[in-house]
Symmetry: C2
Subunit: 111 residues, 2 copies
Amino acid sequence: MAETVSIQEFSKLDLRVGRVLDVRDHPNASKLYLIDVDLGPELGQRQTVAGLKPYMPPEALKDQLVIVVVNLEPATLRGEQSEGMLLAAQEGDNIVCLTVASPVAPGSKVL
Amino acid sequence: MAETVSIQEFSKLDLRVGRVLDVRDHPNASKLYLIDVDLGPELGQRQTVAGLKPYMPPEALKDQLVIVVVNLEPATLRGEQSEGMLLAAQEGDNIVCLTVASPVAPGSKVL
Protein backbone atom coordinates (compact mmCIF):
# COMPACT_ATOMS: atom_id res chain seq x y z
CA MET A 1 0.00 0.00 0.00
CA ALA A 2 1.07 3.60 -0.56
CA GLU A 3 2.46 5.59 2.36
CA THR A 4 0.11 7.53 4.62
CA VAL A 5 -1.24 10.91 3.49
CA SER A 6 -2.41 13.62 5.87
CA ILE A 7 -5.86 15.17 5.64
CA GLN A 8 -4.10 18.48 4.84
CA GLU A 9 -2.40 16.95 1.81
CA PHE A 10 -5.67 15.41 0.66
CA SER A 11 -7.46 18.74 1.09
CA LYS A 12 -5.14 20.40 -1.44
CA LEU A 13 -6.86 18.43 -4.21
CA ASP A 14 -9.78 20.08 -5.95
CA LEU A 15 -12.10 17.34 -7.26
CA ARG A 16 -15.27 18.30 -9.09
CA VAL A 17 -18.23 16.75 -10.80
CA GLY A 18 -18.20 17.44 -14.53
CA ARG A 19 -20.51 16.64 -17.42
CA VAL A 20 -18.96 15.28 -20.62
CA LEU A 21 -19.86 17.54 -23.55
CA ASP A 22 -17.85 16.02 -26.36
CA VAL A 23 -15.45 13.12 -26.99
CA ARG A 24 -13.01 13.18 -29.94
CA ASP A 25 -10.11 10.98 -31.02
CA HIS A 26 -6.71 12.49 -30.23
CA PRO A 27 -5.16 13.28 -33.64
CA ASN A 28 -1.73 11.87 -32.71
CA ALA A 29 -2.34 9.04 -30.21
CA SER A 30 -4.29 5.85 -30.80
CA LYS A 31 -5.32 5.28 -27.16
CA LEU A 32 -6.24 8.83 -26.15
CA TYR A 33 -9.48 10.78 -26.27
CA LEU A 34 -9.90 14.52 -26.12
CA ILE A 35 -12.82 15.05 -23.75
CA ASP A 36 -14.53 18.41 -23.25
CA VAL A 37 -16.08 18.68 -19.81
CA ASP A 38 -18.52 21.24 -18.39
CA LEU A 39 -17.29 22.07 -14.87
CA GLY A 40 -20.02 24.55 -13.96
CA PRO A 41 -20.22 28.35 -13.74
CA GLU A 42 -17.00 28.90 -11.74
CA LEU A 43 -14.64 26.81 -13.87
CA GLY A 44 -16.43 26.66 -17.21
CA GLN A 45 -15.53 24.22 -19.98
CA ARG A 46 -12.18 22.46 -20.19
CA GLN A 47 -10.45 19.96 -22.44
CA THR A 48 -8.95 16.88 -20.82
CA VAL A 49 -6.86 14.15 -22.43
CA ALA A 50 -7.63 10.63 -21.19
CA GLY A 51 -6.37 7.16 -22.12
CA LEU A 52 -9.84 5.66 -22.22
CA LYS A 53 -10.18 4.84 -25.91
CA PRO A 54 -9.24 1.12 -25.60
CA TYR A 55 -11.86 0.67 -22.88
CA MET A 56 -15.06 2.43 -23.98
CA PRO A 57 -16.69 4.00 -27.04
CA PRO A 58 -17.36 7.77 -27.08
CA GLU A 59 -21.10 7.12 -26.59
CA ALA A 60 -20.40 5.59 -23.17
CA LEU A 61 -18.90 8.90 -22.02
CA LYS A 62 -21.05 11.52 -23.76
CA ASP A 63 -23.38 13.40 -21.35
CA GLN A 64 -22.16 11.38 -18.36
CA LEU A 65 -21.28 12.89 -15.01
CA VAL A 66 -17.60 12.25 -14.29
CA ILE A 67 -15.12 13.16 -11.53
CA VAL A 68 -12.27 15.46 -12.49
CA VAL A 69 -9.15 16.60 -10.63
CA VAL A 70 -9.19 20.26 -11.66
CA ASN A 71 -6.05 21.65 -9.99
CA LEU A 72 -3.33 19.39 -11.34
CA GLU A 73 -0.57 21.16 -13.22
CA PRO A 74 -1.77 21.41 -16.85
CA ALA A 75 -0.06 18.89 -19.13
CA THR A 76 0.47 18.64 -22.86
CA LEU A 77 0.01 15.12 -24.19
CA ARG A 78 1.19 14.58 -27.77
CA GLY A 79 0.52 18.21 -28.54
CA GLU A 80 -2.89 18.50 -26.90
CA GLN A 81 -3.53 20.44 -23.69
CA SER A 82 -5.06 18.54 -20.75
CA GLU A 83 -6.62 20.76 -18.09
CA GLY A 84 -7.85 18.12 -15.70
CA MET A 85 -7.78 14.39 -15.02
CA LEU A 86 -10.84 12.15 -15.23
CA LEU A 87 -10.85 9.53 -12.50
CA ALA A 88 -11.51 5.90 -13.33
CA ALA A 89 -11.23 2.55 -11.53
CA GLN A 90 -9.39 -0.46 -12.91
CA GLU A 91 -10.14 -4.15 -12.46
CA GLY A 92 -7.79 -6.07 -14.73
CA ASP A 93 -8.56 -5.05 -18.34
CA ASN A 94 -11.80 -3.34 -17.32
CA ILE A 95 -11.70 0.42 -16.75
CA VAL A 96 -14.80 2.30 -15.57
CA CYS A 97 -15.23 5.98 -14.81
CA LEU A 98 -16.06 7.33 -11.40
CA THR A 99 -19.40 9.12 -11.19
CA VAL A 100 -21.99 10.15 -8.59
CA ALA A 101 -24.69 7.88 -7.12
CA SER A 102 -27.36 10.41 -8.18
CA PRO A 103 -27.16 13.58 -10.30
CA VAL A 104 -25.71 16.83 -8.99
CA ALA A 105 -24.82 19.98 -10.92
CA PRO A 106 -21.52 20.23 -12.81
CA GLY A 107 -18.98 22.07 -10.67
CA SER A 108 -20.14 20.41 -7.43
CA LYS A 109 -17.18 19.80 -5.13
CA VAL A 110 -16.07 16.41 -3.86
CA LEU A 111 -15.35 16.31 -0.14
CA MET B 1 -9.62 27.61 -6.66
CA ALA B 2 -7.08 25.63 -4.65
CA GLU B 3 -3.39 25.89 -5.54
CA THR B 4 -1.92 23.57 -8.16
CA VAL B 5 -1.00 20.01 -7.19
CA SER B 6 1.63 17.92 -8.98
CA ILE B 7 0.86 14.52 -10.42
CA GLN B 8 3.40 13.10 -7.93
CA GLU B 9 1.42 14.52 -5.01
CA PHE B 10 -1.82 13.16 -6.46
CA SER B 11 -0.22 9.74 -6.97
CA LYS B 12 0.46 9.41 -3.24
CA LEU B 13 -3.26 8.96 -2.65
CA ASP B 14 -4.60 5.43 -2.59
CA LEU B 15 -8.26 5.49 -3.68
CA ARG B 16 -10.19 2.24 -3.88
CA VAL B 17 -13.62 0.96 -4.75
CA GLY B 18 -15.36 -0.48 -1.71
CA ARG B 19 -18.68 -2.20 -1.06
CA VAL B 20 -20.72 -1.06 1.94
CA LEU B 21 -21.37 -4.02 4.23
CA ASP B 22 -23.09 -2.34 7.17
CA VAL B 23 -24.23 1.10 8.31
CA ARG B 24 -24.77 1.90 11.99
CA ASP B 25 -25.47 5.06 13.96
CA HIS B 26 -22.42 6.44 15.75
CA PRO B 27 -23.19 6.01 19.49
CA ASN B 28 -21.94 9.52 20.43
CA ALA B 29 -22.62 11.77 17.42
CA SER B 30 -25.97 12.57 15.85
CA LYS B 31 -24.67 13.26 12.33
CA LEU B 32 -22.19 10.40 11.95
CA TYR B 33 -22.52 6.86 10.65
CA LEU B 34 -20.16 3.99 11.27
CA ILE B 35 -19.82 2.32 7.89
CA ASP B 36 -18.12 -1.05 7.38
CA VAL B 37 -16.65 -1.35 3.90
CA ASP B 38 -15.29 -4.40 2.06
CA LEU B 39 -12.09 -3.25 0.30
CA GLY B 40 -11.23 -6.56 -1.35
CA PRO B 41 -8.69 -9.32 -0.65
CA GLU B 42 -5.64 -7.07 -0.11
CA LEU B 43 -7.15 -4.60 2.37
CA GLY B 44 -10.06 -6.55 3.81
CA GLN B 45 -12.85 -4.97 5.83
CA ARG B 46 -12.56 -1.57 7.49
CA GLN B 47 -14.70 0.75 9.58
CA THR B 48 -15.05 4.33 8.40
CA VAL B 49 -16.80 7.22 10.15
CA ALA B 50 -18.74 9.52 7.81
CA GLY B 51 -20.97 12.56 8.34
CA LEU B 52 -23.65 11.32 5.98
CA LYS B 53 -26.53 10.71 8.41
CA PRO B 54 -28.35 14.04 7.73
CA TYR B 55 -28.28 13.34 4.00
CA MET B 56 -29.28 9.72 3.43
CA PRO B 57 -30.81 6.73 5.22
CA PRO B 58 -28.70 3.61 5.85
CA GLU B 59 -30.59 1.76 3.10
CA ALA B 60 -29.24 4.19 0.49
CA LEU B 61 -25.70 3.12 1.38
CA LYS B 62 -26.02 -0.60 2.12
CA ASP B 63 -24.47 -2.81 -0.59
CA GLN B 64 -23.46 0.20 -2.69
CA LEU B 65 -20.07 0.59 -4.34
CA VAL B 66 -18.32 3.64 -2.90
CA ILE B 67 -14.94 5.34 -3.31
CA VAL B 68 -12.64 5.34 -0.29
CA VAL B 69 -9.33 7.08 0.42
CA VAL B 70 -7.56 4.18 2.15
CA ASN B 71 -4.19 5.69 3.09
CA LEU B 72 -5.17 8.72 5.13
CA GLU B 73 -3.82 8.78 8.66
CA PRO B 74 -6.37 6.87 10.78
CA ALA B 75 -8.56 9.18 12.85
CA THR B 76 -10.66 8.72 15.96
CA LEU B 77 -13.97 10.58 15.77
CA ARG B 78 -15.87 10.80 19.05
CA GLY B 79 -14.28 7.58 20.22
CA GLU B 80 -14.72 5.57 17.02
CA GLN B 81 -11.86 4.62 14.70
CA SER B 82 -12.09 5.72 11.06
CA GLU B 83 -9.80 3.84 8.71
CA GLY B 84 -10.72 5.50 5.45
CA MET B 85 -12.72 8.37 4.00
CA LEU B 86 -15.76 7.91 1.77
CA LEU B 87 -15.86 10.47 -1.01
CA ALA B 88 -19.06 12.40 -1.72
CA ALA B 89 -20.06 15.42 -3.81
CA GLN B 90 -21.97 18.39 -2.44
CA GLU B 91 -24.48 20.63 -4.21
CA GLY B 92 -25.96 22.92 -1.58
CA ASP B 93 -27.78 20.75 0.96
CA ASN B 94 -27.58 17.69 -1.26
CA ILE B 95 -24.74 15.24 -0.65
CA VAL B 96 -24.28 12.19 -2.88
CA CYS B 97 -21.62 9.51 -2.74
CA LEU B 98 -19.12 8.90 -5.49
CA THR B 99 -19.40 5.50 -7.14
CA VAL B 100 -18.42 3.73 -10.38
CA ALA B 101 -20.31 3.96 -13.68
CA SER B 102 -20.53 0.16 -13.79
CA PRO B 103 -19.63 -2.50 -11.23
CA VAL B 104 -16.03 -3.54 -10.52
CA ALA B 105 -14.68 -5.68 -7.69
CA PRO B 106 -14.08 -4.18 -4.23
CA GLY B 107 -10.42 -3.26 -3.89
CA SER B 108 -10.13 -2.01 -7.50
CA LYS B 109 -7.79 0.97 -7.67
CA VAL B 110 -8.72 4.43 -8.87
CA LEU B 111 -6.24 5.95 -11.31
